[in-house]
Structure formats: structure tokens, C-alpha cells
Amino acid sequence: MDDFNRMTVDEIAAAIPDGALLGVPADYSGVPMAATRALIARKARGLRLYCLPLTTIQGDMLIGAGCVDSIEAAAVTLGEHGLAPRFSAAVEAGSVTMRDSTCPALHSQLQATEKGVPFMPLRGIIGSDIAAHRPDWRVIENPFGNALDPILLLPAVKLDAVVFHAPHADRNGNIFIGRRRELATLVHAAEKVYVTVEKIVDEDVHASEASAAGGLPAFYVDGIAVAENGAWPCGLTDVYPPDDTALAAYAAAARTEAGFARWLADQGLGAGNAA
């Protein structure tokens, strides 16, 4: 007997409303590609992506398909497959707003919400153009310093929702995330948490200390959908590697808007492009 809220991938996509501030995991961290295709299929609009700390094909596809208003990240890239073409084109055209950040700031702003505090301090960054273009950030004098000691404060960010892909859940709804603790940070800072998994397993994630150490407790999770190969064409650590052929094909196709539209159509997502 499953003791969790079982959903379909389409139901997860429907539960993420247009305009949501959506948490996006990095390429090494369980990219929810099945859910991303479902968001494009349902013609999601106005999404604001918050990447921890970067995105690859997931963000590029959502941007290319017209689902995104703004994106906050330390990087958007296809990695060894080159620049993220739909992202670069959209930013150069001004059709998507990029809020440039830096990895530790993206972590800290979610960790503030994780700890229930309104801000977190962070070293560095002062004097960069990142800081210069972030009026939502503040520099204060360190109250514990003796001399002048400016330090950056970053406000807490609460996500409307996060969705990620994981190797498995157990029948009690606990998720196995392994070393990818940044997924826990995304979850702790999110109002709604949806997870797609390769499979549901009988053994409780909490049964042994080793397994529990890689676990995310069920009480954070609002819904779980089974999606085999749900990270494809991205990889899933220790489960399957990235499909470099498919990623290279995407990188080549997405260089132009027309190529991207053809690629979407080949995926059965032809009607998903920008309205």
C-alpha cells in the first residue's frame, strides 16, 4: 500500500501554476525533464525560474517554448554542448529577464528560508556588477566588526514550487536523493514539492543509516509521480548517464528558433512554442 499522494507527471505540471516562482535543480541534481515536457505540453506561461545554481537543457527548453518570464541563476549553459541557445537568444532579444546571481548567493537565499530567517549574510560579491544590478540586495556594516567591514545581506527567497527527479521513493513517500543535498535546500524553501522518480521501492529509505543519510523525509513532499527515464536526456547519478547524442542534437537544433520548433515537434510538443 502506498502511503503518499501519487500523481501523474501531467498532474504535477498542472499543479504548478502559471507565474510560479519555480525551483530548478542543476544538471547533476535530478533534472525533471519529464515534468518539463509536461509543462511545455500544458503551455505553462510566465514561469519565474530560480536555479540552484544553474540550469542546462531544462531552462533552455522552457525559455524556447515561451514558458518563462524571468530566470535567476549563476549560469545557463549546455555545458560541453556549448551555450544555451534559446536562453542566449531570449536574453539578447530582451524577451526574458535574466537576474544574474552567483552560486553561493542562490544557496544562501534559499537557506534563509530554510532556517526561517529574513536574510543571510555572504562574503565576497561586493564590487561586482552582479551586486550593482541587484537592488534587492543590501550592504551593511558588520555589527560585530571593530573597523569598517561592509558585508552583503541577501533576502530570503521562498519558492512557490519545486519539482525534481530522483532515483526512487519508498512506499511511505520518502525520497532517495543521495549526496544531492541541494535538493533538500530547494525543498525546504518551497511551498509545494513535487517529485518524479524512476520507481517506487518496497524497502523504507529510513531502514538503514546509510540509506537514510541520502533520504528526504516524506513530510516535505506534496506529490510523487513515477516517470521512467524521467531525467532523459540528462543523466541520473549512478542510474544512467547523460544521453550525449540527444543533448548534442538538441544543441544543434536549438541554434535557431525554427530548429527548436522542429525539435519540439519531434518530441510531440509541437504546439508548445511561444504564443
Binding site: A26, Y28, S29, L52, P53, L54, A73, A74, A75, V76, T77, G79, E80, L83, A84, F87, S88, V91, E92, G94, M98, D100, S101, T102, C103, P104, A105, H107, Q111, L122, R123, G124, I125, I126, G127, S128, D129, I130, A131, A132, H133, A147, L148, D149, P150, I151, R179, R180, R181, E182, L183, A184, T185, T237
Partner: protein
């Protein structure tokens, strides 16, 4: 023994890592990654000392268990001695730009973004700037966007910063007080004049600008015999191109 241009760069970077306790290498950096593994092997051979090397791109050489924040936390704790950064543009004050070309936010050409540079450049004692392409397009008078500044006012907390810039033409050191690079050596075939012609910013010259030392036969043998197969595991395309080996 002849060496490839990549092997010269690996050797040059490895020299800069001797003595480090912990070297970290970010994404998409096969040459710094190989240099760190080479320096690690040489420290072991020379003195039995263990140098920790963390290569984010590698499952095997990535030691972190608290997720993506742990590298930045460890840097904040002062546990990373050397880190590598690059740049779409690097200017004469060692400011780096990983964001794009043009008048931000109205960029003509958008690049991925700043990654963790805006913290790592402050928190890591020794940051080595590494950019193979050495041209007026990459080494500029002033970057279009400061992902991370090369220097900071004295009141701003800063544990470290740029120590060197290595390109496919030569090796620079950096003086933070003067905020200027100094050419220390040129690679075989280059002169200070050819380097200056390819550089978009003014720089100083060392009293004697020699040729960047070639890797010794012993080092080359170690690199090709022991290090290259390791690199092939996480940068297969690079290893295939440089050493014609498969993972």
C-alpha cells in the same frame, strides 16, 4: 621529449600548485584538472605528502557530500588553497567577465553567467586565471561586466584573489596593490612584443622575461602514464584529442 601545447599548460599550472593542501577545479576545466592531478602525484612521489584535489566534474574526484553548496562553504572556511577561474573577458585589473559582451543588461552576446566566481575570487587565497585564447578580444582594457573584481578596497573582506594568468602565449603574475599584471614568461615562439600585440591591456614586464619552462621528461612520463588515463575518465574527449587514449 616533445610536448603538446596542452602539456605545456598543464605543466605550467602544476608548478603553481606545489605546496597546496587542497586544490579545487570547477566545471569544464580539463587542463586545470590534469594539472591538479599531476601536482598531487608529484607531491606524493617527492615527500609522501597527500594533496587533496577536488574536481567537480568527476564522480570519482568530487569528495563533497553536502551538495553543491559545500565547495563554497569550504572556500569560505579557508580550506581551498587554489582555485581556477576563466573569463569571456579578463581586463588589466584582473576583473573577469563571464556574463556577456555589450551594454549590460542589453547584451549583444550572452554567455552562461558568473557561476561561483564572485565568492571564490575573494575567499580562495590563490586564484589562477586560465584562458587559452590570448587575444585583444579576451584580454581587454575593461570588461563589459564585472562578474568578480580583481581587487577590492582595503575595508572589504578579501582572503585572496588573482595570483597568475596563464594563456596560450605566456604567464603573468598579478600585483594587487598596483592592480597590474606582469609578464613572467612567454611560451616557445612568443616574445614580449608578440604578447603585447595580442593583449588588450597594458602590463609590466619581469626583469627578465624568459621562456616558459618545458615539462621535464620525467614529468611528461608521469603525465602520460599515470595522469592521462585518470583525466580520460571524466574528460574523455580531451584525453582522446591530446593523448589519443580512450576512457
Amino acid at each position: 621529449m616533445t610536448h603538446s601545447p596542452e602539456e605545456l599548460l598543464i605543466s605550467t599550472l602544476a608548478d603553481m600548485l606545489a605546496g597546496d593542501r587542497h586544490v579545487a577545479v570547477g566545471a569544464a576545466s580539463p587542463i586545470p584538472g590534469a594539472a591538479a592531478l599531476l601536482a598531487q602525484a608529484e607531491a606524493r612521489i617527492a615527500s609522501g605528502r597527500r594533496m587533496h584535489v577536488s574536481i567537480l566534474h568527476s564522480r570519482r574526484h568530487n569528495p563533497f557530500t553536502e551538495g553543491a553548496r559545500e565547495l563554497f562553504d569550504a572556500a569560505g572556511q579557508g580550506r581551498i588553497d587554489t582555485f581556477f577561474l576563466g573569463g569571456v573577458q579578463i581586463d588589466g585589473q584582473a576583473n573577469i567577465n563571464l556574463v556577456g559582451i555589450g551594454d549590460y543588461p542589453h547584451l549583444k552576446k550572452r554567455f552562461p553567467g558568473s557561476f561561483g566566481s564572485a565568492l571564490m575570487y575573494f575567499a580562495v587565497p590563490r586564484v589562477i586565471l586560465f584562458r587559452e585564447e590570448h587575444s585583444p578580444r579576451t584580454l581587454v582594457g575593461k570588461v563589459d561586466f564585472v562578474s568578480a573584481p580583481g581587487t577590492s578596497p582595503p575595508e572589504v573582506w578579501r582572503r585572496g584573489g588573482p595570483k597568475a594568468l596563464v594563456t596560450n602565449r605566456g604567464v603573468f603574475s598579478f600585483d594587487p596593490a598596483a592592480a597590474r599584471f606582469r609578464l613572467e614568461s612567454v611560451h616557445n615562439g612568443e616574445t614580449p612584443a608578440t604578447v603585447a600585440a595580442a593583449t588588450g591591456f597594458d602590463f609590466d614586464l619581469a626583469p627578465r622575461v624568459g621562456e616558459t619552462p618545458a615539462p621535464s621528461p620525467r614529468r611528461l612520463a608521469l603525465l602520460r602514464g599515470e595522469i592521462a588515463p585518470k583525466v580520460a575518465q571524466f574528460y574523455p574527449q580531451f584525453a582522446a584529442r591530446v593523448w589519443a587514449i580512450a576512457a
